[in-house]
Symmetry: C2
Subunit: 560 residues, 2 copies
């Protein structure tokens, strides 16, 4: 009954704020620059000269207009606004091959969208492996005046976490698409707000300068006794992290733009594509600084701990703690990671529970496969490839024969498949087929992880859904049983997210409403995994999409 | 009188062979590969796995169809068929921004054109600085059966010369377009048929393996006593070369696809964009091998001599001569270079002299300038920029406001300008304005070199005209005088070329007929100079161009 009363209030709020919303204009030059984020110099894709790019700040209901000038020499781009649902603007999602043609060098492309709810979001390249080249940044959306968050703090700071390679995105891409296969390997360094630390003395060539101010550690300065909201986002190309502040507990209050029932952690697991807000009180010995540390989990770490300095005023900001860097929980403690996944629930005052039943179950088995010798990732034995004509254009303008019209498979042989063994049939097929969803229907998606091609190995995959938030209704170890497990779904207070992890040999289930006309990518947010085929595409209500702007066209069958 | 009799024969020949011509189909995958052409491994743009790409062989009048598959990840391409006039197919010239939109990753583009006269030609990327990344190769067009060349040889071999950098084309481009300016510097090595030699012991990082077979010297094997035609082409990004074969004279017989009055040289000057055929007799001591050597001229050499082995059968092909590598003439002997330029004349039996008078004189002063601090090259104080909508599409389809409509300047203040001083007004302007030529008119172009921004420095610039051959009617040291110098033009037996050098503080004049409907780039063939604005564009008879194929569209104002 309480919920029914709250809903109209939400709708009204959203409506009124979009009318009153301001428009924020941004002008971005996307260009290569030589950057040394971890002291080692390499060509990075920058926005107005920087990586990470500028933070976009807006208020719920505002419109954000980003005029992107592609100043790369011969290379296209596309930028995705991760966590922004693009209601009414599916052509602004920035997903090359799905919602737009790439932006050519010398051209200017305008992204325009409404940020319809408060929270912490990110943006990043969604073309090839350009995210790993440095094209990413933060979006912070605040509540309208008069509205309050269910937590208090004195000040707000943001940290964007990344992993970093010295090899170019081309060389990484080439390895992944070559025979023999060349894996990207573990990152050379971990970055906090674009700053990391590589051991220059280990460098054989190139330029590495440990005293370059570009790689000085990031400093989070706090005043003893005050309370801080830290917005933490991960755009890693590969790594799952634990994040911790030496000697400080953190209270998780927001995830992917939704308030959560507060939980206290000493270290926070964060996967690529996720955002969190935590509340931290500067309540420790104020006579020293503390480490802020990120460590790799879920893959055996081969990269030194990434760090920033948690600086208690008036200590010198660059005074490094004499303590050792925190290492966090064991990298392979997947039970502990699953525990965090399961502990996250909607905030009781902001609970917006899912529909009680779903119209369709899509059961997606993640496997590693080989196709003609090439190593690929597949979903229900289909390894995704992007079409040359973006789906949104193809579907809206009825361009035929530009992608595989056979429906993508809704399930796999879950009764007999052994998720603890390498795939018995490693041969998958390439396809750009998609899932067409009934508009306004409720869909359950279950992601099932299994053994990779190597015995005794299963990995963690954070999956990101474009155009929606979803309710995370369940996690489980082992094989999902479509008869039994849905009975255990949490339909009472599930967290809403746009990105969710699936742990090794485990499953994750979520529910969403196919209520946003458009075409939406859904994929593993590990950049090389999506590059290797680990993704699918959902279409819903494309007939309701308005006239497409011509700026998204020009490639494939959408040439003149 | 003899000429009048010959002309109809030429026309008939060309007509009949185009009717009888065969069609040669090529399927090319353009992709990054790790290559070690000079033993140092770097990412190169390859065609079907190689750099140089495959040689295109055809007979005069044949049609060549090249299906180009762009398998780069995020990068576009365009390929220019250098020396092929593209009569009736101006959309196949492959010049990004002039005749087509770039070819997007994942897309396939078909180039189709007639090779209308015999000779040695090249192909290469014409987009950004991708030529320097390895995208180039040879085109050899032979005479139809029954027709004979005015020289004899037992066998035909080809050598394509290049200079090579270890930095990526991105990094080179970035330097050129940065403040402060970062010059590309002298090449790391010189390549003959894609093979060179870098001193791996000087390498600090990266992979360099002196025993990699990819960088074994190229071997030209000859049988003692036999006579060879060597086709020699240069696609360098920067360097002018001397080419020599230790102990052997060479008789120059062809230049840019035209037979020349034979001249004997001990070393051949060859500029980027030029092709020559020389006749060499294997008439030296057959008990040993000889060096084939390329050395940098016209810039102070900082790159070791490039070499191949001129192998006398049955000596072991890899047996290096015990002699020292030939060094050729002095790098700064521009008088000697001008002498070769002036010695080249049309072959008397194939002389096709120019019209006796021209309708227009375009006098182009080459200067180095600064615009807002950026270092640029300019022509008559205009530094060229490519528009985002290719000219051919803009003009043919009357798209307005997509490039500067003001005519590009036909002259400069030649009376007062001091070519021996740095430019008094270093501030040029950017423009994408063009020269519109009356269809079928005769045009004289004079290229005037001057002092760069640094005192006592003037450079050599090889200029290449698309869509035409031109008659080289004059060269001179100093400043061209439009009143006096045209009287000295050679209108009797000038060589026909598509690329011609302009020496330091000197001028070069040529005449051509604006008889090929289309839009044609004319630019310095030094890749970084064109990148820095050293080029212009000619339009002629665009109203006579047939319907444009949609495959060239999709960018700028030619989006849907």
């Amino acid at each position: 009954m309480a919920l029914v009363a709250i809903l109209p209030f939400f709708l009204l709020m959203s409506f009124s704020s979009s009318i009153e919303g301001k428009t924020h204009f941004h002008n971005w030059d996307i260009a290569y620059k030589l950057k040394s984020p971890d002291c080692f110099q390499k060509l990075a894709i920058t926005i107005n000269g920087g990586t990470p790019g500028p933070t976009i700040d807006a208020q719920q209901g505002d419109t954000v207009v980003v005029k992107v000038h592609n100043k790369l020499f011969t290379e296209n781009i596309a930028i995705h606004w991760h966590g922004i649902r693009q209601i009414g603007t599916p052509w602004s999602d920035g997903t090359e091959g799905v919602t737009q043609c790439p932006i050519l060098p010398g051209e200017t492309f305008v992204y325009s969208f409404v940020v319809d709810h408060a929270g912490t979001f990110i943006y990043h390249a969604h073309y090839g492996m350009q995210r790993s080249a440095g094209l990413y940044g933060l979006i912070r959306v605040v509540l309208p005046p008069g509205e309050v968050e269910p937590f208090k703090y004195d000040s707000d700071q943001s940290l964007i976490l990344n992993d970093w390679w010295h090899k170019s995105a081309y060389e990484l891409s080439l390895g992944l698409s070559s025979l023999p296969f060349g894996w990207v390997g573990e990152p050379d360094s971990l970055l906090i707000n674009g700053r990391g630390r590589f051991n220059c003395s280990s460098v054989q060539g190139g330029t590495c300068n440990a005293t370059n101010p570009e790689c000085a550690p990031y400093v989070i300065s706090v005043v003893p006794g005050r309370t801080y909201r830290l917005r933490i986002a991960s755009v890693t190309s590969l790594s799952a992290f634990t994040f911790q502040i030496e000697g400080h507990n953190m209270t998780v209050v927001e995830a992917d733009g939704h308030y959560v029932r507060p939980i206290v952690v000493s270290s926070l697991y964060i996967y690529s594509g996720e955002t969190y807000s935590v509340i931290v009180k500067a309540d420790q010995d104020p006579s020293r600084n503390y480490w802020t540390a990120v460590n790799v989990v879920s893959r055996k770490p081969q990269t030194p701990t990434g760090f920033a300095i948690f600086n208690y005023y008036p200590n010198h900001p660059m005074k490094t703690p004499s303590t050792i860097l925190p290492l966090g929980p064991l990298w392979n403690d997947s039970a502990s990671r699953l525990k965090q996944d399961m502990a996250l629930k909607a905030h009781p005052d902001y609970n917006n529970p899912p529909p009680g039943k779903s119209d369709r179950l899509i059961l997606l088995l993640n496997t590693q496969n080989r196709i003609n010798g090439y190593t690929r990732w597949s979903v229900n034995n289909v390894s995704f490839t992007l079409p040359h004509t973006p789906y949104l254009i193809a579907l809206k303008e009825r361009l035929h024969n530009v992608f595989d019209q056979k429906p993508a498979p809704d399930t796999y042989d879950y009764k007999t498949y052994n998720i603890h063994q390498p795939p018995p049939n490693p041969n998958a097929t390439y396809s750009d087929s998609i899932y067409r969803l009934k508009f306004n229907s409720t869909v359950d998606v279950v992601l099932q992880n299994a053994n990779t091609l190597n015995a005794n190995n299963s990995e963690t995959h954070p999956w990101h859904l474009h155009g929606h938030d979803f309710w995370v209704v369940g996690h489980g170890v082992g094989k999902f049983d479509p008869e039994k497990d849905p009975k255990g779904f949490n339909l009472v207070d599930p967290i809403e997210k746009n990105t969710v992890a699936v742990q090794p040999y485990s499953w994750t289930a979520f529910r969403f409403r196919a209520d946003n006309p458009g075409v939406w990518a859904f994929h593993c947010h590990i950049e090389s995994h999506f590059f290797m085929g680990m993704g699918v595409v959902f279409e819903e209500g494309v007939h309701r999409v308005g006239k497409l702007p011509s700026r998204i066209k020009g490639c494939g069958a959408s040439r003149v």
